[in-house]
């Protein structure tokens, strides 16, 4: 398979994730769609890494996974804090940054 297939596939996954971020309103699902977009980026990075025969892209992908893990912990902490305050779990309800 040529690398083009992988890159186009990663474009598809990224677009699906972006559509999810724009349309869904549950912050949990929005975080999942962010994971989709990050994974699409990872796929492109690893595809290019294979294209050049160079391992740097794989290290980049590893760092992206680390950043994704951090984002997940902080995001889920925010969602749990929202739930504790009895705020409805809906991004339209928390659009004002006020308690």
């Amino acid at each position: 398979m040529s690398i083009t297939w992988y890159i186009v596939l990663s474009g598809f996954i990224f677009a699906i994730g972006a559509a999810g971020v724009m349309t869904r309103r549950n912050p949990l699902v929005i975080l999942l769609c962010l994971e989709l977009m990050l994974n699409a980026g990872n796929l492109a990075l690893i595809g290019f890494s294979k294209m050049w025969g160079n391992g740097d892209g794989q290290v980049f992908a590893l760092i992206v996974m680390v950043v994704a893990a951090c984002e997940v912990t902080v995001g889920l902490g925010l969602i749990v804090a929202l739930y504790r305050r009895r705020v409805p779990i809906d991004v339209d309800e928390v659009s004002e940054l006020r308690g």
């Binding site: 398979m1 040529s2 690398i3 083009t4 297939w5 890159i7 186009v8 474009g11 598809f12 996954i13 677009a15 699906i16 994730g17 972006a18 559509a19 724009m22 349309t23 869904r24 309103r25 949990l28 699902v29 975080l31 999942l32 769609c33 994971e35 989709l36 990872n42 796929l43 595809g47 294979k50 294209m51 050049w52 025969g53 160079n54 391992g55 740097d56 794989q58 290290v59 992908a61 590893l62 996974m65 680390v66 950043v67 893990a69 951090c70 984002e71 997940v72 912990t73 902080v74 889920l76 902490g77 925010l78 969602i79 749990v80 804090a81 739930y83 504790r84 009895r86 779990i89 809906d90």
Partner: protein, 224 residues
């Protein structure tokens, strides 16, 4: 065989991604993301990235998804508000249009690129290309500073999550006081994890005892 495997994994990845976006229940979204991650790990294997594929399965499908499942169970099955009121259906249409435009743009950019090697199968790589040894050597020699920065970032994120999800004792409806937090500094910090674990478990306990089958389930255990 590689082509067959690629198309299987690609369909799995796209189907999983679509299911994440389209399914209403967040729990099933998480499960379809697990399917997506496994398909993506297969693709990574096809691209000679063995270590990344293993890390993907262990870290993402193992650890991060378990975190998601716990939070979904803790929050409970939140029904998303009905999606098709006037303005939000317009938002949905706009989102889909933007996504389709994004696909078209990316495809044009990839197909029309002047990278000549993109139509090949990639460079010939040695046998230890994506192995843990090669990745580790790159991380510790060429990319030492990003490696350390990533570790600092992980520490900061862990501390931040603990602070965010900490149980504030006597939390009123509005923010007023949080009275007894300074009194229990030692008990405050490990609270979120034990609550993530204990929250969904502690909630359903009164229900079975009250409803149906177990009048004697928790109590004689304590007695004995």
């Amino acid at each position: 065989l590689r082509e067959l495997l690629f198309f299987l994994a690609a369909f799995g990845a796209i189907g999983g991604a679509l299911a994440v976006v389209l399914v209403r229940n967040p729990f099933f979204s998480v499960l379809s993301l697990v399917i997506h991650l496994f398909a993506l790990a297969t693709l990574f294997l096809l691209l000679n990235a063995e270590f990344i594929a293993a890390a993907q399965i262990v870290v993402y499908a193992g650890a991060v998804m378990v975190l998601y499942v716990f939070v979904v169970a803790y929050i409970g099955g939140v029904k998303e508000a009905p999606p098709l009121r006037g303005e939000s259906s317009a938002i949905g249409t706009t989102g889909v249009i933007f996504a389709a435009g994004l696909v078209v743009i990316v495809t044009i950019a990839v197909v029309g690129t002047s990278l000549t090697a993109i139509d090949t199968e990639g460079a010939k790589v040695g046998i230890g290309f994506g192995s843990p040894g090669a990745i580790g050597e790159l991380l510790l020699r060429k990319f030492l500073v990003p490696f350390e920065a990533a570790s600092i970032l992980l520490t900061v994120a862990a501390v931040g999550a603990v602070v965010l999800a900490r149980k504030r004792r006597g939390l009123p409806d509005e923010e007023g006081g949080r009275p007894s937090v300074p009194g229990t500094p030692a008990g405050a910090s490990p609270a979120p994890e034990s609550e993530l674990l204990g929250g969904p478990e502690a909630e359903p306990k009164p229900l079975p005892a009250g409803t149906a089958e177990a009048p004697g389930d928790p109590v004689p255990d304590r007695g004995a």
